[in-house]
């Protein structure tokens, strides 16, 4: 097992549009190590979501190299090397929560008994043990997003890709889910790539913060967090936390041109 889960060098992706080429990613060099919690932060159009989608083989790069677990993204996808969580929970409304979690397991062809065990495991991981028989509409937005995280965890990939998973939730729910996500990361030893707009969220969660800048999308700064692994919510008031947050903010400001 390589210790670098995601390795990108000179990675570029250019979309051809009617208004000419759009450089969503340009010359991105980045390594994500096993067990890292990496946040990608930057303004819209900086390519943070695109980068995640390239890892997931949802977009094909137009230049450079990228490997996921030492394989191409497509091979990694075929081997189900990662779970993906979108901003919307995207649960199927006609399936109960446990049946939603079963979708990837059914596609993998797991036996009923194996499915059952994994569903129970992940439901208790996200604190939804008693909600398996409910339909999505019977759950709050935060609970739905937890169910979608459970679904991404269900097939036990080492890598979790999360694209602004808490972006649509209110602050209090978000704090709670951040705390839960850290516990989950700690308990499962997964590698997490997490896209966000929020500086406090990025600093609170990450071991590594990637600050990106737009047009063309590139990596502006990579910050290794000095915060301990154990992080209560009030760590956000410590000088150490604020110092990292200030560096992120500075990076965002420097990388962002306001004249557009």
């Amino acid at each position: 097992m390589p210790d670098t889960v995601v390795s990108a060098s000179n990675l570029s992706l250019t979309f051809e549009t009617n208004d000419g080429p759009v450089h969503a990613l340009k010359d991105v060099d980045l390594d994500v190590d096993r067990g890292d919690f990496v946040s990608f932060i930057g303004p819209s159009g900086c390519g943070k979501t695109t980068f995640l989608r390239v890892i997931a083989d949802l977009e094909k790069p137009t230049g450079g190299e990228i490997s996921v677990n030492g394989m191409t993204p497509q091979e990694a996808r075929m081997k189900r090397a990662y779970g993906y969580v979108f901003q919307a929970a995207s649960l199927l409304p006609w399936r109960t929560i446990e049946k939603n979690i079963a979708v990837p397991l059914e596609i993998m062809g797991l036996s009923r008994a194996d499915q059952r065990k994994r569903i129970d495991d992940v439901l208790s991981l996200v604190d939804l043990a008693n909600f398996g028989k409910k339909y999505p509409w019977q759950l709050s937005g935060g609970m739905q997003q937890r169910a979608s995280i459970a679904r991404a965890l269900a097939f036990d990939a080492d890598l979790l890709l999360m694209d602004e998973p808490f972006g649509a939730l209110d602050e209090i729910v978000r704090d709670h889910l951040n705390e839960q996500l850290l516990k989950l990361w700690d308990a499962t030893n997964k590698t997490i790539c997490f896209v966000t707009h929020s500086i406090p969220e990025a600093v609170y969660l990450s071991t590594k913060i990637v600050v990106m800048s737009p047009r063309p999308g590139r990596v502006h700064d990579v910050i290794d967090s000095t915060l301990p692994r154990e992080r209560p919510l009030d760590i956000r008031e410590t000088p150490e936390f604020l110092e990292i947050a200030a560096r992120v903010r500075e990076g965002l400001r420097a990388g962002h041109s306001y004249d557009e």
């Binding site: 083989d57 996808r77 919307a88 995207s90 199927l92 409304p93 006609w94 059914e106 596609i107």
Partner: protein, 304 residues
Amino acid sequence: MAPGQISFMTNHGKAIPVLTIITILIAIWYACVVWMNAPFERDKAERISKPAPTLSQLIPATMAQERPVLPAPHQVVIEIWKTTGAMVQKGRPFSKRSLIYHSWVTLSATLLGFLIGTALGIMLAVGIVHNRAMDKSVMPWVITSQTIPILAIAPMIIVVLNAVGISGLLPKALISTYLSFFPVVVGMVKGLRSPDAAQLDLMHTYSASRAQTFWKLRWPASMPYLFTSLKIAIAISLVGAIVGELPTGAVAGLGARMLAGSYYGQTIQIWSALITASALAAVLVMIVGFAHTLVLKRMGEEPA
């Protein structure tokens, strides 16, 4: 309503407005009966040199003609009873004079045509959604097919099929198919494409095959669209079956009944076949609507 119970009639509080409208329509109908049938009564009096009938003589007379221009509602109701309920009482519900018999003839063609049309519509939609060439080429033809008047094409279908030895139920059913596949194609293309990008992306990240994506995502997502289309399809299937009976001199079926009525000026018979046909359509649409509610309920739909 207790949870788990299916609401068959959700139109609480609609009874009074509906009854009011029906009452008004019947009143207008009776007024038209007097107005349209009166000239015949006046002519009759004139021919035998009797004084013109007074209004109190005229009104009952216009409602009791044997071949009125416009039959009165109660005449139609009596005719329907004589050809349905009364036949059942006599133990001959499937006699050639019975509307039950004629309805069954039309209904069987309707249902067969509806089934073929639904299957055809679904297959075309699946092809259109999954195949780029079909996506580009089939839809214009599907739309074109519906711009041809069915009255023009129905006799040709019947005659051509007769020439190759196919007669009876199938040609009529095919006319129903011709009409009913259309809403199914249109609805199902939309339904099968209704999953959003994130849901399709998720299937991609699971490395799901096209068949798995279809059965786990596209097909269930299309159910509400399918049933909405089926409600239209069943109603026009009935229209198709009736139209299929008109140009061919069919001897049985609601369409044949209307045609025979018009040959012999039997307006009451035409109207009773007409009312029976629309009642049949209403029942068919209700059955599909009931199946709709049932399926969506089983799919865990949020109660409205």
